[in-house]
């Protein structure tokens, strides 16, 4: 039996994903020798290039022993409470997807079921009007730590170069080592495992486990098998153009994601700059037209458009090689899942570290979890397209696509009666699903019977009261800029 523990880990890739993996491995499994084969991340590694992140990043940092003063103050991050979606449904006002509950349950039934009841034969205020987080975000205010509305979480808008440098410094501080030459070749052993990497300087780099964080090309992992699951039937954008503009004095707490005739355009406010981008389908929009649209949004392009092939490797971990980040799952920036998926893969890798033989049964469990997680992210992103309502062919085709089975089930159950099926490994909470479904105008056909056990007048009254109390939120609280200044002062002290 080969139960020798893994001792040497080689991580290929020199961006945030690779350095985060190195830091996590050294922090949690300090006995490992971790070498990062560092090179500039490729332009199409979107997890490295999108500054907006989900709230999970805070937990990831805390787990690594990083503090707000490192990750927010010194690395110049801004905060974000959610995203404002504009024009995804032509007939409806913009909606906010914030990371927090909507309303409060009435009796034992979820708030949204009561909202649906009013929406079926009236016009209650929009669903996001019942999200305290959305109200704060629109008002551009932040509650002091500890006094946030219940369940509110925020993400960060990173300063990517600073963040990458911080992770690198931290990983090196924890004892990881860096090799700065390029990768020339991957040498496989007779049993199909990766034996070593041959480097541009002629040397060989051996290891027990190889982590591939080289972006979509998956320079290591793709050598073991080329299998790829294509998500383009549901996620029609195949190009991304990134851009930037100067920072705003008070960076907005909401990113903006605006649907355009053949794709969508975004903006995320950071401390040092505002990030912009456009995701589009090359068949429906030329690169020149895309550049014009980006410029109209007030940005100058940062580099050429990058081709994007959305999908995942069915088995991110095979033998002694595991793909993480864009090498495992490539998705457009919609809902900012790229870095989240990379962090989640790193956590899973740490928690499931096998022996040197990389037993198939252990890898199968890793891959099963990865698959379930990725598929539900795919479903959530695909939802934005399937539930869109715009007249252009791009959108009509997207809305007419046949959803993957798990999303079809979610949609039909929700359309019938406003329930959401439970799934393991779900990234987005029920409230996130609701924000998008109801925000894009998917109204259930009927009212859930449990909601009917609350008398109608009572439901109306309680919903109105709640709406009124939230509308008053904001004034008196700190602006984003004041909040960050306050954090900075605390650190200096």
């Amino acid at each position: 039996m080969n139960a020798r523990p893994i001792e040497r880990v080689v991580i290929a890739g020199g961006g945030i994903v690779a350095w985060s993996a190195a830091a996590a491995l050294k922090r949690k499994l300090p006995r490992l020798a971790v070498t990062v084969l560092a090179s500039e991340p490729p332009a199409d590694a979107l997890a490295e290039r999108i500054p907006a992140t989900l709230p999970s990043i805070l937990g990831f940092h805390a787990d690594l022993g990083l503090r707000d003063e490192d990750t927010i103050v010194r690395a110049r991050s801004a905060l974000r409470l959610g995203t404002e979606f504009v024009a995804w449904n032509h007939g409806l006002a913009p909606y906010v997807h914030a990371y927090a509950p909507h309303g409060r349950p009435l009796g034992t039934t979820s708030f949204h079921l009561h909202w649906v009841r009013l929406a079926r034969d009236g016009a209650p205020p929009p669903f996001d009007a019942f999200s305290p987080a959305a109200a704060l975000a629109r008002a551009g205010r932040l509650a002091p730590p500890g006094a946030e509305p219940e369940g509110l979480e925020h993400g960060l808008v990173l300063d990517l170069p600073l963040h990458s440098a911080m992770m690198r410094a931290y990983a090196l501080h924890l004892g990881a080592t860096a090799r700065e030459t390029g990768l020339a070749d991957v040498r496989l052993r007779a049993d199909g495992f990766v034996g070593s990497l041959r480097l541009d300087d002629g040397s060989e780099l051996g290891g027990d486990l190889f982590v591939d964080a080289t972006g979509p090309a998956a320079l290591l992992r793709s050598r073991l098998d080329p299998a790829f699951e294509d998500w383009s039937p549901w996620l029609p954008c195949d190009r991304v153009l990134l851009g930037e503009s100067p920072a705003q004095p008070e960076p907005p707490l909401l990113d903006r994601a605006e649907a355009l005739p053949a794709g969508w355009r975004w903006r995320s406010g950071g401390v040092e700059r505002t990030a912009h981008g456009l995701a589009y389908a090359s068949g429906a929009l030329s690169d020149e037209a895309a550049a014009r649209l980006l410029a109209e949004g007030g940005a100058r392009a940062a580099g050429a458009p990058v081709a994007l092939r959305q999908g995942r490797r069915p088995r991110p971990w095979l033998r002694n090689c595991v793909a993480i980040g864009d090498a495992a799952v490539a998705v457009e920036p919609l809902e900012w899942t790229g870095l989240h998926l990379a962090h989640s893969a790193i956590d899973r890798l740490v928690a499931m570290m096998p022996d040197r033989d990389c037993a198939a049964v252990e890898l199968a469990e890793y891959n099963r979890q990865s698959e379930a997680e990725a598929n539900r992210v795919r479903d959530f992103l695909a939802l934005h397209y399937l539930a869109s309502a715009r007249p252009e062919p791009f959108w009509r085709d997207a809305a007419a696509a046949r959803p993957p089975a798990s999303l079809a089930h979610t949609l039909s159950l929700f359309r019938e009666r406003g329930r959401l099926p439970f799934h393991e490994e779900e990234t987005f909470s029920r409230d996130s699903w609701l924000a998008v479904l109801l925000g894009q105008g998917v109204i259930p056909r009927r009212v859930d019977p449990l909601a009917l056990s609350v008398p109608r007048e009572e439901a109306v009254r309680r919903i109105e009261d709640l709406g009124a109390s939230l509308a008053a939120a904001g004034p008196g609280l700190a602006t984003h800029g004041e909040y960050l200044t306050h954090l900075t002062r605390q650190v200096r002290r």
């Binding site: 006995r31 089930h409 009666r417 329930r419 393991e424 449990l450 056990s453």
Partner: protein
């Protein structure tokens, strides 16, 4: 509005499943449905099923049932877990507690450290010594858990042990108070719609015809509607779970009132022992392929630890389930949907899961397929996970002292289970669910309790120095023992909190 017309729900059967369903629907959906239950006193109820899981507390709470009143009415006791005797080997005994090992809060599960210390050759106590639930159970003590998650007394949960013949009548009183109707009589015919195949009405021996929109089949093993009438196929799992009979016999309680159920392995199955306030329930669950009814009965009579209070009673069953639980306008709940032996007290839990699903997915008169599919998906998940967990108990053994144990020890198990076992054996890893009846600690309890010890451990557990781990473990063991000793006896707590009414 026709949409909001009440659905006429006919519940067939008045056992635990029937009255739990009636009570829940009448209480939670009073405007949506009219509940009408039909039961036959002549046929009667199965009348066993006395040990439950902690989930039942949530069911009672949702219905607003007062715990002390319910416990007094059903002569109930508290249950901290299940003691398994003679399973891995003759002479072994371990408790599967409703709770954690260690504090259950660290990033790495406690048992990884425990495995590491053992492998390093340190003399550490049995894993059982690091569970608060086990410690309390072994001392026959009980006190409700502490709500403060920092307290060691927050690391266990509890369920109930009650008199199965009193639970349904107790719920009946509540359900009728909430508006459920009841008709006594034997159903002799079931009418179906020629076009859709849906059930239209049931006809009683008296000639009375009862129509409905939705039929809940709680008829017990006969599965009158789902099985007999609609012909939904039965998936037979008896090659993995070969026990197919039970002989049951209550006795006077002559031992201290233990706050746990016992499952004692026997030559051709196992025996339960469930202490209630007024008596102890006993039964021998066995495989008729390996032992005769007479031998089983004699073995039970010889083993009970008190004066018998009734003649031994024989029950027959087959492990398995109807492929789907919800077909057309018929939903089976309870034994009518399937049966898994009571080794881990899962039957009433499955009843509850089906009721929760029904309440959450309650249909209109015209039922939509998506609700049915979601319901069946949920029930599939529940049955699958419980099935594997039960099979584990038989398979994880070194017993070779009878043909029964030879069979279960060497039988092929479902791949879903052999993979789980292999993951644990390699590195103590438990497949994690966020949802499901049995979470990590349950699997760990049974693996370790039945001799499946990991060869490796989570490498993160290798980081802290051995002395620090040993010190922490010793302190934890002492804290557990001390706080268990400071708690009141189970019998005393029951007597103060929920004493049954004196016998009339």
């Amino acid at each position: 509005m026709s949409d909001e017309a009440r659905v006429n729900v006919i519940i067939v059967g008045g056992g635990t499943a029937g009255w739990m369903t009636a009570a829940a629907l009448a209480r939670l959906l009073p405007r949506r449905c009219a509940v009408h239950l039909v039961e036959s006193e002549a046929i009667g109820i199965v009348g066993v099923g006395e040990a439950t899981l902690p989930h039942l507390r949530a069911f009672n709470e949702r219905l607003g049932i007062d715990e002390a009143e319910f416990m007094a009415a059903t002569r109930a006791t508290f249950k901290l877990g299940i003691e398994f005797r003679n399973w891995g080997r003759v002479g072994d005994s371990y408790i599967h507690p409703f709770g954690t090992f260690g504090r259950g809060q660290g990033e790495v599960d406690f048992h990884h450290y425990w495995v590491r210390m053992r492998q390093e050759g340190h003399a550490v106590a049995d894993l059982q010594a690091y569970s608060m639930g086990v410690a309390l159970a072994r001392l026959d003590r009980f006190q409700p858990p502490d709500g403060d998650p920092r307290s060691i007394a927050s690391t266990y949960g509890y369920a109930y042990q009650f008199d199965a013949t009193l639970f349904a009548p107790y719920l009946r009183r509540l359900a009728e108070g909430w508006g459920a109707r009841r008709t006594e009589g034997r159903i002799v015919e079931v009418e179906r719609d020629g076009a859709s195949g849906d059930i239209r009405a049931v006809v009683l021996e008296s000639g009375e015809r009862i129509e409905g929109d939705l039929f809940v089949d709680c008829s017990g093993f006969v599965s009158l509607l789902l099985g007999r009438t609609l012909g939904e196929p039965f998936e037979d799992w008896s090659h993995w779970l070969p026990c197919d009979r039970a002989v049951a016999m209550p006795c006077r309680t002559e031992t201290p009132l233990s706050p746990y159920t016992s499952a004692i392995a026997m030559d051709a199955g196992w025996r339960w022992r469930i202490p209630l306030q007024h008596r102890t329930g006993n039964g021998y669950v066995y495989a008729s392929r390996f032992i005769s009814d007479e031998e089983a009965r004699a073995a039970l009579v010889a083993a009970v630890e008190g004066e018998p209070l009734a003649e031994p009673r024989l029950l027959r069953f087959t492990a398995g389930r109807r492929r789907r639980s919800w077909v057309g306008n018929c939903i089976a709940v309870g034994l009518a949907s399937g049966f898994l032996e009571p080794l881990e007290s899962t039957s009433i839990y499955l009843v509850q899961a089906a009721i929760t699903g029904l309440v959450e997915l309650f249909p209109e008169r015209r039922i939509s397929a998506v609700e049915r599919d979601e319901f069946n998906r949920l029930i599939d998940l529940e049955y699958g996970r419980i099935r594997d967990f039960l099979i584990l108990h038989y398979h994880a053994t070194s017993r070779d002292d009878s043909p029964f144990w030879d069979y279960v020890r060497t039988m092929a198990v479902p791949e879903t289970l052999s993979e789980k076992i292999e993951l644990f054996r390699r590195r103590g890893r438990v497949v994690k669910y966020r949802e499901g009846v049995f979470l990590d600690a349950s699997w760990i309890a049974v693996y370790v309790g039945q001799g499946i010890l990991p060869r490796g451990f989570d490498p993160r557990a290798a980081t802290p120095p051995s002395e620090a781990v040993l010190r922490g473990m010793a302190a934890l063991g002492e804290e557990i023992a001390a706080s268990a000793r400071a708690m009141p006896g189970h019998a005393a707590h029951v007597a103060g909190y929920c004493p049954m009414a004196p016998a009339a």
